[in-house]
């Protein structure tokens, strides 16, 4: 039996159901809206497991599900050495979101990452502490800034309302997922440089779960 992990609520779940339906496999919740059990029609030996999108990386790593649908941003943030744990089978064309670095829009001297690096250095000299970037994507942002050789900054943890941290003076910049940029504009922030990561919902195969033959047969049925 192949266990397929799918986000348990919201647009991500609906779009996942649509994606599978377009490929001849009908997924649905069994019973009421509140029940996290699922039904699969159009494929034999596949069980639907409804999970929080944030838990799907961990379940894939542990091999408790064979296949999972989640954003590639969560995979890369949560799984160190992610390519050793999961295989990307198909980008699904929805759930698009960019992980970006944003600074106050009023910083008219900050357009590129080089500007940002110079400003961080000045800020540290002026204020006696490193410029703070609020984020929940610690590993991705740190690895990216390290590769870009940006120093003189520190990450501060923000698990929500990250765009508000700059006005609240708990951070000078933010690194967060954005899809439209409206929240950024409303908080007087602007994006600088290229995105840290461009993410979308992705169908992934767990390496640890095994049963590769069966999983590939199911993937073939989906046209992958």
């Amino acid at each position: 039996m192949i266990r397929l992990g799918v986000p348990s609520k919201g647009r991500l779940m609906e779009q996942t159901f649509d994606w599978f339906a377009a490929r001849g496999v009908r997924l649905s919740r069994a019973g009421s809206e509140r029940e996290y059990a699922g039904r699969v029609e159009g494929a034999a030996n596949v069980a639907l497991v409804l999970l929080s999108a944030g838990e799907i990386p961990r379940e894939l790593q542990a091999g408790r599900i064979h296949l999972g649908v989640t954003g590639i941003d969560l995979i890369r943030e949560k799984l160190a050495g992610w390519r050793s744990h999961v295989e990307e089978l198909a980008p699904m064309g929805f759930g698009h979101a960019d992980l970006i670095l944003a600074v106050p829009a009023c910083w008219s001297d900050c357009e590129t990452l080089d500007d940002f690096a110079a400003i961080a250095r000045d800020f540290r000299a002026e204020h006696g502490f490193r410029l703070r970037i609020a984020t929940k994507y610690h590993r991705l942002v740190r690895a990216w800034l390290s590769a870009e050789e940006v120093a003189d900054y520190q990450l501060v943890d923000s698990q929500g309302a990250t765009e508000g941290t700059v006005a609240n003076l708990t951070a000078e910049a933010i690194a967060d997922i954005t899809s439209s940029g409206e929240t950024l504009r409303a908080n007087h922030l602007k994006v600088i440089g290229e995105p840290v990561l461009q993410s979308q919902a992705t169908l992934l195969r767990s390496v640890a779960a095994g049963d590769e033959g069966e999983v590939r047969d199911f993937a073939a049925l989906l046209g992958i």
């Binding site: 050495g81 390519r83 106050p104 829009a105 008219s108 080089d114 610690h138 390290s146 120093a151 003076l169």
Partner: protein, 355 residues
């Protein structure tokens, strides 16, 4: 490989450090994260284990001994002072996209020696000590000198702002190269459009204005001549057996007179090593060696690497860290030059031990 065997090798190294006059110290394993973060920056979080204490706040499992030993010395040390230690350090291996087949140990022994002294012979004393202890292993010794590179950068005919930017980023090779290329090209004037967005955040409009003023006055600066860029590139690329490197540096110091003092110092160090019976022809001098190490070395740097084990970290490494010692001594109004290094007993054991 048993922990006891590694411990035994560590004790052997420690005995050699004690015989060289060092007092053994035993710093804490739990260190205040703030000091380390401030010194090393955010990158240390990717390498060190951070934990939370309800009263003491954010703590780190000792990622190295240098900081606690310097703090201990600044609190109550006499001068000159020699310290040695043996104990575990803890390092995360936050690998990239694939998990390595043989991940390195997350906790391993370090045996170290730190010398606080104003004596100009300190570099040679520390290098020779490590060289002699490790002699049975036939390692490749490499030496560098960050101060030599910084003197060369300070000698560039540039504005203070441009020089400071280059010096600040000397440990970040690509950012440094980009800055140098920018300074070598005619400066482009840049527009800073008035922005309707309301001011937000802690960075003030004055701070922004100061930077804009700096960038505007930067436009008036003449580009750095290609000749200077070439000189710097030639210096950074020097990598040869120490006597040959010294010869090349002498030639270059005719063109960059400001490095003459650092070259003299290198020559004195090599003479002092020869006088201690060390074959300096077997030491490699790599001018850029210190650019790939931790940011805190600002003078001589050294490493001892096992031949044919390119995937290993150095068996031993160290250097001079006067600036770090000055920063940590500031609170107590003390400052003293410092040189030190560490050996990894685990790797020494894998190479068959010291005897």
């Amino acid at each position: 490989m048993s922990k006891r065997e590694k411990q035994a090798i560590g004790q052997q190294i420690l005995a050699a450090f004690r015989a060289a006059g060092a007092q053994e110290v035993a710093p804490d394993i739990l260190l205040e994260a703030e000091t380390l973060l401030d010194l090393y920056g955010e990158d240390i979080r990717a390498r060190a284990y951070v934990t939370q204490d309800p009263i003491r706040g954010e703590m780190m499992l000792r990622p190295d001994f240098t900081v606690p030993v310097v703090q201990m010395h600044m609190a109550n040390g006499a001068e000159p002072a020699r310290y040695c230690y043996l104990g575990e350090v803890f390092r995360k291996q936050d690998h990239g996209e694939t998990r390595p087949e043989h991940p390195r140990d997350n906790e391993y022994l370090q045996a170290g020696f730190e010398l606080f002294a104003r004596d100009p012979d300190a570099d040679a004393e520390v290098f020779a000590l490590f060289h002699d202890i490790l002699a049975p292993l036939r390692l490749q010794a490499t030496m560098g000198d960050m101060d030599l590179l910084m003197d060369a950068v300070r000698a560039l005919p540039l504005s203070g702002a441009r020089r400071a930017a280059l010096l600040h980023h000397i440990w970040r090779p690509r950012r440094f190269a980009r800055l140098l290329a920018r300074f070598a090209a005619p400066a482009e004037s840049r527009e800073f459009p008035d922005n309707p967005a309301p001011w937000t955040g802690l960075r003030s409009a004055d701070e922004m204005q100061a930077r804009i003023d700096r960038l505007r006055s930067d436009v008036a600066e003449a580009p750095l001549s290609a000749q200077w860029v070439t000189r710097l590139e030639r210096l950074f690329a020097i990598s040869a057996p120490a006597p040959e490197a010294l010869r090349q540096l002498r030639i270059l110091s005719a063109e960059i007179p400001d490095i003459a003092e650092a070259v003299d110092r290198l020559e004195r160090n090599l003479t002092a090593l020869s006088a201690r019976g060390i074959d300096v022809g077997a030491i490699r001098f790599d001018a850029s060696h210190g650019r790939h190490t931790m940011e805190y070395y600002d003078g001589m740097t050294f490493s001892f690497a096992a031949l044919g084990r390119e995937d290993w970290p150095p068996v031993a490494s160290g250097g001079r860290y006067d600036a770090l010692a000055a920063v940590l001594g500031q609170a107590r109004g003390r400052s003293i030059p410092a040189v030190g290094g560490i050996i990894r007993p685990g790797l020494v054991h894998e190479l068959g031990g010291l005897s």
